[in-house]
């Protein structure tokens, strides 16, 4: 069996506000193995982003445990590139934070950017790039810190449909080629099916794992998956499971 990069065990999280407390999740257990691409879908408002904060170690569970091996790379809905930094400086940001901005690390980051078509944009500011390019730069920034697991918080939801399909294709390709482990949180069923090896369906709040499915597609290419006959069958199944 492959090594588990991330493991939630009977996790409970309580949110405290002046008005009272909310149990965001209870008895939540799942794990992500090395090299796996896992997608989580759930009804809106079930606290999906909270799960990522738990996974990233930004929140501590009230009960249970979250075990994580190695470092995380977080990718958010918007690219969150810093507008006052050039693309190159943006990509170097995580290295700066970790105080690992050595000449070799800089070179590596630059090579990664060049490999994925950002060569001509390294000196540009984010405002000069298209939405798709910006999201690609955000991914390269995340990869530059060599994370052991990528946490993707609906990273395509802010893009228009056309761009979204292209960027999904783009990002998925890069993640597969770099053989990265990833946990994607989304409310978009078709996005989950087109990207993941395994889909975890969550219940309403307090969020628990309702179902887990291993997707038995032969290809990993998102667009080809969308053309596959099995796609609509999966969609129907997951749709039903989300709407019980």
């Amino acid at each position: 069996m492959k090594e588990k990069i991330l493991k939630f065990e009977n996790v409970k999280l309580i949110y405290h506000t002046v008005r009272g407390e909310t149990v965001a999740t209870e008895n939540l257990s799942f794990s992500v193995e090395e090299g796996e691409f896992v997608a989580m879908i759930g009804p809106s408002g079930c606290g999906k982003s909270t799960l990522l904060s738990l996974a990233a170690g930004l929140l501590a569970p009230s009960e249970g445990s979250v075990e994580r091996r190695g470092s995380v790379g977080y990718m958010l809905q918007r690219d969150e590139l810093f507008p006052w930094r050039t693309i190159e400086k943006n990509i170097q940001l995580p290295l700066e934070i970790e105080k690992k901005l050595t000449p070799e690390a800089k070179k590596e980051a630059r090579e990664l950017a060049e490999k994925y078509g950002l060569k001509d944009f390294l000196g540009s500011y984010p405002s000069e790039l298209s939405g798709g390019m910006r999201q690609r730069a955000a991914l390269i920034r995340t990869l530059a810190m060599r994370p052991d697991i990528l946490l993707l918080d609906e990273p395509f939801s802010a893009l228009d449909y056309q761009t979204r399909l292209n960027v999904t294709q783009d990002v998925a390709g890069i993640i597969r080629r770099e053989k990265k482990t990833a946990l994607l949180i989304t409310h978009d069923i078709s996005e989950a099916i087109s990207l993941a090896d395994r889909v975890i369906v969550l219940t309403d709040r307090p969020a628990r794992v309702a179902h887990t499915h291993t997707l038995d597609f032969e290809e990993t290419d998102p667009l080809k998956r969308r053309e596959n006959r099995q796609f609509s069958a999966w969609f129907e199944l997951l749709w039903k499971e989300l709407n019980v």
């Binding site: 904060s53 995380v72 790379g73 958010l76 507008p83 006052w84 934070i97």
Partner: protein, 269 residues
Amino acid sequence: MKNTNFSAEHLKWRKKRKIRLIVVQSLRVGLLLFFLLFWELSTRLGWADPFLVSSPSRIAATIGSLYAEGTLFYHIGVTLLETAIGFLAAVALGYAIALLLWWSDMLRRILEPYIVVLNALPKIAMGPLIIIWCGTGSKAIVFMTILVGIIVVIMHMLSAFLETDANKLLLLRSMGASKLQILTKLVIPSSRAAFISMLKVAVGMSWIGSIMGEYIVSRAGLGYLIVYGGQVFKLDLVMTATVILCALAAGMYFLVVLLEKILVKNTKN
């Protein structure tokens, strides 16, 4: 990229725009000239009493005599120095305090009501205290200038610091950034626009502070000239000092605008 081979319609549009610009500029200058001319004529033709409203020519003559006495630049220099020192100190101190309040949530909550009250307090009420604490020299005036400016700086910058994008904060925290890194890499650079707009407000506040200070205690400066001129009924002197003040305040404001241009050029935000 640049296409200089314009269509007829575009050329027409450009011409129209240029004419409009010229009209605005000339009316701007024209308004000032008309105002000065009307002022001068109304005193010459006896519509208004030059003793009460002065006139452009009398102001020019007063400036000339102040210059001949050798006190013109002395008074300007005194006020300018007090304002500039007070402005810089208020900005530096206020910025530092705002940073401190951003850093410590606890401290901010504790001090919040005090800041609100200090903001509402008319600073001129502190006049007598300032005289007793700082004496009757420039020190008191600089103190007043700082007092008037600092609260605005604190409130303006603190709210900008607190408005830092939550997602960018989350991103940095997920990278394991320390609080100091969050401050230097995100909070300070993203509040740059607020910094500039704060400077513009603070420039105005500093002039209010320094002139107010000079009203209360002073032996020199433009505020002193205004008070003195009022007391001995030399309204020419009052008007002259006011006009010079206008020019100086505008000059300082444009310095800030210049700074803004330089900063924006370097960031391409």
